[in-house]
Amino acid sequence: MAVLTYREALNDALREEMERDDSTFIIGEEVGEYDGAYKVTKGLLDQFGEWRVRDAPIAELGFAGLGVGAAMAGLRPIVEFMTWNFALLAIDEVVNAAAKMFQMSGGQYNVPIVFRGPGGAALQLAAQHSQSPEPWYSYVPGLKVIAPATAKDAKGLLKSAIRDNDPVVFIESEIMYNLVRDEVPEEEYLTPIGKAEVKREGSDVTVVCHSKMVHQALAAARTLEKEEIDVEVLDLRTVRPLDVDAVVASVKKTNRAVVAEEGWPMCNVGAQVVDDIQREAFDSLDAPVARVNGLDVPMPYAKNLEKLATPNADHVAAAVRHVCYAD
């Protein structure tokens, strides 16, 4: 096992899959000569050449659609958005083209494509560069939406996403690229899409989370251990299709749940998780489900305000105490 950063794990996944299948190519802004705005594609241009690592003009709609068309013609494109904020310019191609093509064509044209890039807030990037796109895409039948929390999952899930025959929205994180590092197997492995993973076993309360909030939940769990509250951290990893079975199984064990995510509360992933819990595990609940999320405001720039608007481990811990009637 080698300890890799989240960024290195993604780079390994791209390289391995491009070596494995020559129909795989990557297109996006700065992915080639510049080695990637966040260096996720470092070294790939040298190894694979310009037709497989294509520096695109700043034209998100155009190159996202190029990917969809190339996928329909038999290639397996990876479209990098420098950040998911810019992908809003391309959402028509993701939602109206990629997600619907398989059904609209009566099952003739599936679209094997990965749209990837970092989402969520980083450090004082202000309103237009600090948002969590998961709910926008999770809403759409036909898409698969992945937001891994660890280097190991990032690699295994990106490899699975590239091999998947349907469009995958793959949401990374600027903060995690460097800060998250963990053991990654040296032998080849794939992490299954649509399967949650218990990142910490516990018996008193389940925290359902994904992406950065997994780390906040694990930190909260360490704090709560001292208060003799045993927290189970369930990392969704894929938010669509959502692993309802795993959520329900965990809640039936712990009888309490907190749903934590970074984005805004209205219609977010957690809102759906709460619904799944109340429909399938209502009789197991000893307390109403609590939610932790970002405040329902555009992200402000000022450091103190950004901190207030962003959910953290303390918020998760407080929510856990609340559902345990320990606050």
């Binding site: 155009g62 996928a71 329909m72 059904q103 349907d166």
Partner: protein, 373 residues
């Protein structure tokens, strides 16, 4: 006429919206018929007539509620579909917008499959999932019918990218309407196609109205083909879209460029839609006059090509009548076929959302729908 000469106008269109059909003569020798045999010419005509009769039947059955949703008819533009698709090879690609019935038929789809799709039945080319705007046939490299104006141009350059990627010599023919030239996706696509030499033929069907808006009211250029001039390596030209042979010649040259030089082309085919924007819209009214429609109807692409063939001794009155009668029968049979075809079964709802199946635990969210359990 359609020499690879960017900017050369070959059809003169008056600024007056009621001026009628392009008056410019094609530079193709009218007697030479592009070297096509008599039989090939008759086939082109037959194709156009089948498209026309099919659309007329579609309009008829739409009125009695057999077809739902939007239904955009192609009547008047048949010279463009027949002239552009006929010189393609089977391994080339075609992608288009939502006025797609005739192009699907021109590409080789059976009228039965297209009509059954309009009826939303299992024997439709998209198994009833697409309807009027979303005709697909992978076996013919017919990549759809797309309903968001301009959104399929990026898809077309993706197909062009895949062709280059694999070192092939195919081309991708991409149809779109005049409203698309003002959309960002148009420029993004032309730019990338020109910069990376993608063999895409952007075929603008300028039928003069984006729904009810005269293109000259919203485009800051007089000649739409001039929009292509900004891109080095892209050949831009216009052509009389009411003349099937002129369209075909322009296409043959564009195909050559695409196959040999890998360069894209942008062809503005000047034509006219005889019907309203969709079946729900008027043929004329606030945005165009009855006189303008009638003027263009007098230049009907089917009638004028019929006359040309007859004048050249390539078609007899009797042959024309036979073709037309057969086309009407084909259209009638397509409606009868569609009527007989079953509706999709309820289980099909979940069949094509994901290619590896619909997750059971997600499906449990639909448990409240007892009839779907």
């Amino acid at each position: 006429m359609s020499s690879a000469n960017p900017g050369r106008s070959t059809a003169t269109v008056s600024d007056d919206p009621a001026a009628g059909a392009p008056g410019g003569a094609s530079s193709a020798d009218p007697d030479a018929f592009l070297g096509l045999s008599k039989e090939e010419c008759v086939e082109l005509l037959r194709e156009m007539i089948i498209e026309r009769r099919f659309e007329e039947k579609a309009a008829e059955v739409y009125q009695v509620g057999k077809i739902g949703g939007f239904c955009h008819l192609y009547i008047g533009q048949e010279a463009v579909s027949a002239g552009s698709i006929s010189p393609l090879r089977d391994d080339d690609y075609v992608i288009t917008a939502y006025r797609d019935h005739s192009q699907a038929i021109a590409r080789g789809m059976t009228p039965n499959a297209v009509m059954a799709e309009l009826y939303g039945r299992v024997d439709g080319c998209s198994k009833g999932f697409g309807g009027s705007m979303h005709m697909f046939d992978k076996s013919l490299n017919f990549m759809g019918g797309h309903g968001i104006v301009g959104s399929h141009l990026p898809l077309a350059i993706g197909v062009g990218y895949a062709i280059r990627y694999r070192g092939g010599d195919q081309v991708c023919l991409c149809f779109f309407g005049d409203s698309v030239v003002n959309i960002g996706a148009f420029h993004e696509s032309l730019n990338m196609a020109a910069r990376w030499k993608l063999p895409v033929i952007f075929l603008l069907e300028n039928n003069r109205y984006g729904m009810g808006t005269d293109y000259r009211r919203v485009a800051a250029v007089k000649e739409l083909k001039d929009r292509g001039r900004a891109y080095e390596g892209l050949t831009s030209l216009d052509v009389d879209g009411m003349d099937v042979l002129a369209v075909r010649q322009a296409m043959e040259e564009a195909i050559e460029r695409g196959r040999n030089e890998k360069t894209p082309s942008f062809i503005e085919a000047r034509c006219f839609r005889y019907m309203g924007h969709s079946m729900a819209d008027p043929m004329h009214g606030t945005y165009r006059t009855r006189e303008e429609v009638e003027k263009w109807r007098s230049d009907d692409p089917i009638l004028s090509f019929t006359r040309r063939l007859m004048d050249a001794g390539r078609l007899t009155e009797e042959e024309y009548k036979t073709i037309d009668r057969e086309a009407k029968e084909i259209a009638e049979e397509s409606a009868a076929f569609a009527d007989r075809s079953p509706f999709p079964d309820p289980e099909a709802l979940y069949r094509y959302v994901y290619s590896d199946g619909y997750p059971d635990d997600m499906r449990r969210r639909d448990a409240w729908r007892k009839e779907l359990r």
